[in-house]
Symmetry: C2
Subunit: 786 residues, 2 copies
Amino acid sequence: MPQDTRVSLASDLKSAQIAKPPLQPAASQALPYTIHDYSSYSANFLPEKIKQNSPQDQSSRWASGSHNQLQFITLKLDRISIVHTITFGKFHKVHVCNLKEFKVYGGLTPNSMFELLHGGLRNDTEPETFSLKFKANGVYFPCQYIKIAPLLAWGANFNFSIWFVELRGISQSEPADQAYAEYMNYRENEVVRLCLKHFRQRNQLEIFESIQRRTKIKLEDPLLTDLHRHLVVNGDFAAAEDVIQDASQRSLFQDWIRRSVSSNGCKPVWKRIQPATGEGCPSSRGGHQMCIDAECGRIYLFGGWDGSKDLADFWVYDRTSLRWRCISPDTRRQGGPGPRSCHKVCIDTRNKIIYTLGRYIDTDHRPIMNLDADFWKYDVSQDKWTKISEDTTQEGGPDLIFDHQMVIEESTQVIYVFGGRRVQAGQDANQSVFSGLYAYNIRDNRWSLLREDTTPADHAVQMKSRVGHSMLLSPETRELYIFAGQRSKDYLSDFYVYNIESDTVHEVSRDYSKKGGPNPGYTQRATIDQELGELYVMSGLMKDKMTSNEQLRNTFWIYNIKLDTWTRVYHNDSNPDEEYWERMADKEPRPRFAHQLVYDWTQKVQYMFGGNPGLSTNPGLRLNDFWALSLQRPRNEDILRHARFFIRKQKFREMCVSRTHSPQQLLHYLQNDLSEVVDHADPHESKSFRELTSWLFMWNTFKGPGGTPLFGFSDSATAGGHPAGHPSAQANNFGAGGMVAMGTDSGNLPNDIYSFRTELYSRLIEYFPEEMREPKQSLVDLVPII
Amino acid sequence: MPQDTRVSLASDLKSAQIAKPPLQPAASQALPYTIHDYSSYSANFLPEKIKQNSPQDQSSRWASGSHNQLQFITLKLDRISIVHTITFGKFHKVHVCNLKEFKVYGGLTPNSMFELLHGGLRNDTEPETFSLKFKANGVYFPCQYIKIAPLLAWGANFNFSIWFVELRGISQSEPADQAYAEYMNYRENEVVRLCLKHFRQRNQLEIFESIQRRTKIKLEDPLLTDLHRHLVVNGDFAAAEDVIQDASQRSLFQDWIRRSVSSNGCKPVWKRIQPATGEGCPSSRGGHQMCIDAECGRIYLFGGWDGSKDLADFWVYDRTSLRWRCISPDTRRQGGPGPRSCHKVCIDTRNKIIYTLGRYIDTDHRPIMNLDADFWKYDVSQDKWTKISEDTTQEGGPDLIFDHQMVIEESTQVIYVFGGRRVQAGQDANQSVFSGLYAYNIRDNRWSLLREDTTPADHAVQMKSRVGHSMLLSPETRELYIFAGQRSKDYLSDFYVYNIESDTVHEVSRDYSKKGGPNPGYTQRATIDQELGELYVMSGLMKDKMTSNEQLRNTFWIYNIKLDTWTRVYHNDSNPDEEYWERMADKEPRPRFAHQLVYDWTQKVQYMFGGNPGLSTNPGLRLNDFWALSLQRPRNEDILRHARFFIRKQKFREMCVSRTHSPQQLLHYLQNDLSEVVDHADPHESKSFRELTSWLFMWNTFKGPGGTPLFGFSDSATAGGHPAGHPSAQANNFGAGGMVAMGTDSGNLPNDIYSFRTELYSRLIEYFPEEMREPKQSLVDLVPII
């Protein structure tokens, strides 16, 4: 994708706003503050109390004087700062007045604040630290005021208490002043761009020119300015189509295709990969491990549980030959590891080395088994296993664990291992059952512990250890995405980013299921496409929110990293019968858990193998079916055709009312130019096309058919559904209302034609990356009315 | 006050937006809707259920699937409408899922909504109707979407249920479309005005001119445009002072003086009026009645309770002679009413007639007393009492009541009586103890019942009957303001407006104590100044929010009708000892209740007489002190002087840095022109003046003293307290940030001089009525960042 061309405007606009390392959380310091304002307080629980951290002192807190939704406390920082985190201290016992739900706002003045966090505290005794939003649109957000608004206490009808608040961030004058100046500059630019958009939409081109000439600020990418001139100002539809064609060739619609996942669907296409007759393939299993060397087109599979025993066979699937090959029926024979399940593997595709760590051992067998944490590597080119360590515990690495996560950063040759449950022989009360975050440096053969599970929470964002979670590496940003899983009885749907460079944790979400993401689940599998900026999640056992029952249901989700949005693109029907799945055996995979998923980012295909179908009638049953899942998204050429259809519809309508074309000419245009850009197989498009014929009979009148507005888009796919002819068809867009009173430019062009061309323009630019476009907001929508 | 001149711009801008009667609540109809969106639901409690009103059916409700703060249900109206009220139906039993707190939003699209109501339902079985905000800034607010966001259920941790929702308002196409067009036009105008403000503040005068020329929209009143030209563009400080002087003479600062009540204080001045030696005055009492004929300067006082018996004496106080005169020691002797307390009086100042109705009769005495509701009038000019009615009950009027309210509308000769408790001989379970709203037509001698207390709530806003409340008439708008009081065990702090013309009730607030108003109380007294648009409240017994104890504490509040703001301007110290009040006997009234208050709007003086000091050691003690309370507000000349001080400071600083004046000239200007506009007795002003001398030594440098910005206002009274020299001194105002990158106009004028003159301008226009000024908002503050 030609990144360079399409981000030209964005980099232009934001040239002064490049992330400065000093503003990152790694440099955070405690920010002194005073109490600026508050809603109320009770007794002697004064607002100032939150400045002191005295968990033993029951009076060391602010308590609101009421528990309505109007309560707040506003802190004033000594200096304008970039605020990274907020830490809430707590009482040394659980307390009904703790905040179950709250919001945090920040801003430069108490009257103009933005929401930085919507969170909640656990009702326990541990301090909690939350990441605040401190950057948006490429600029850091300077604050001098931080407002905390309690929403719900743990005890209903109890007033709210806050025991202690610490804010951390950057307040040193140089970086903070710099960020402040960039922020102010950004706001000024955005205002001018909103004005430019506003006046151009209203055909106030003289004002537009004047603003542009004096400020030199660009509204949008020059390509779109061209499109606007051709389409809206000149009505040169052919030239407009050329711009679209050009954009299509430059892959500018890719961004829209990704964004469109959430709206108009991205169809999941399952394909079962059957072994050729007589060919072997791995036997049925769950709890096995897979890894992929995407560039070579090879998928490796090792071990698992077949329903009665652990396996030690080792396979490779070749994408080109479509064949499985058994590397070894038992890796022990090559001096490799023994049978295992619930272990983890990862592959270093540069050096063609596969690593494996951990395994599950049944509680009954623990007394008689070796519980050492062995650690192995397999050299693909030499077909050779090496035992890196007899017992990683002895080398400062993790104990023997299972249901952990493991990823490799190839560039630095470091393996990260997070979470998992310790395989413990007896009950050692002093030891946490959950394993922390470890890094293994391959070159030095050295383990280091980055986060202990039992580390007391200080002012850093805490990421609790867990099992059955997901962890993915983003090599470019050097971040680990860690989410979901289970901790004791809690099913999690939280989301953290661990920054390798700065060794800091950022909480993206405490519960993404509330923001439209997957419900908490267990044994979900996740993959990443760095190029598309997407994570994929295939859920296994889901927890039903209402009943708290476990439910076996596979769903497939796309998470857009940049937009922080979850979209479910596949789910199997709930509880169809056994017969159904037999019938679908080659079409759609039956529900399962303990399956395995890998992603081939070069071909954009997910591969899934085996798992446990969770049949109560046959609990030992495991699967060995192998599936490819690809996502069918809108194609570049579809967008191009759609855009052309819109443009030609507008041209046709203008032809119809212009009185300069004969009915024959109009019919010819309809049957040729328009028809050729219609997908006649699509009932909606086809209908929209057929309706255009009625315009032929209106060619000599200025009224549209059925009294609809002349160029309204009420017949189009995304129309809002307002009653035709009602002014709301233009609501919040650019109603003629505002133009009535003004003189407008572009001489002879009737305002309604200009308006409707503008509406068409607004629709067409949706296909372009946001960085190229005029601002999304409209000034009229920003004006407070009530 | 020359209303005509100062509202010229406002009427100009809003000429098309004059209230159309068809859009008023009187014409309200039920508005059909569909469910557009919702957050979640439980089981079969589908969102659609709220369209049906089936209080008997426990399943006829929407129940959210969670009780977090993200729950909502969005209704889509069939047509764009002006929405006046929302009615919530309920289950036939109290229910834990009822909404204790919720918000209602409305808008033309689901993405751009404004808060219309923040309310809460009682946990009972009666439907409740709430007024929604439907008009702001003189324009009606059209909606097509209404979103209800539950915030709190009565049962903690219960999901939210809504049983039934009815929306009422205007949807007929003609008035609604008209309102829509006016609304859109208003928004367009506001956007242009915001742009005008923005670019002028940034010295982008070419853009400013271009927008003004093309749109013909005025930013502000021409007077202020003149001020801007003189002050900011030309630096003609003398001419700027002339504009201010002119404004002062035209009383344009009156509006600011009223608004300023809430910020910089309005000092209460108590003056005890002692009878001249040997002169009589009414004896000690509480529960008496007073009324005032302000234009004649006469205050009438009738009856009361002296601690052991009801009184029937009748007095008049003359403002000119400062004397009380006893009209009658016992009105029975003139054929007038007998002794009474807790009755009500009102005066028809046109015809000089005083009316009295109701009285309290102790429960013990009821069996032996006549409980007929007698109704009397007193003709002042003829000194004659007439019994209008032996028993108003017989004539369709109220029963014998006490602690009610009574006002007279002189123009229509109608008396309104609301609330009060019925004096009942026995226990009549079928009869409500509270009296409803009655109108007595004097000309026809006819009573009519406007609102029964027991009327079942339908789709109208319900105003429950009560005792010990306040009721005031606004003759111009023909509205009754009804607020506070007590109903059974509930102490109220609600606020209703009854519109006489349309016979409708509007709920201004369910609990104004949450919005900074007085706490609920009992026997508060209220008066009104129609001219200033203010209500005054003197509280009596207050209910302490935390302890629920009654507390005797007098506070005096101003309510600004237009701004809907409460300001407490006086309160006596809490619980000083008896000795303190003896010492203060002539300086400040001791706390009391059952006192009486009247307001002389011609002189702007409140008069208070007597009351019960609530001494537990002497429960029979009543007071007979007489007080005048006036409010000392900023004077016109103070504002003028302040404005001049600001202007001359700016001039002086510019002189200092211009290098065109000798130190002698500068010193001369400081010691004469500046000094003469300083109140040297005011320590703050005096300090600010003295600090200016340091500029003398900076006259030949461009750096301000102490490295402060050149023309910063950090030394001035209202400066924000940002660290001097920090960019935040300009935060959210018009920082130089935005201007750096732009070419600016006004040729040679350095941008910083223009900026600081602009800041001065922004400060000066604060003194002018809002309708004359540029918009309050700034575009930069409206741009969403996060």
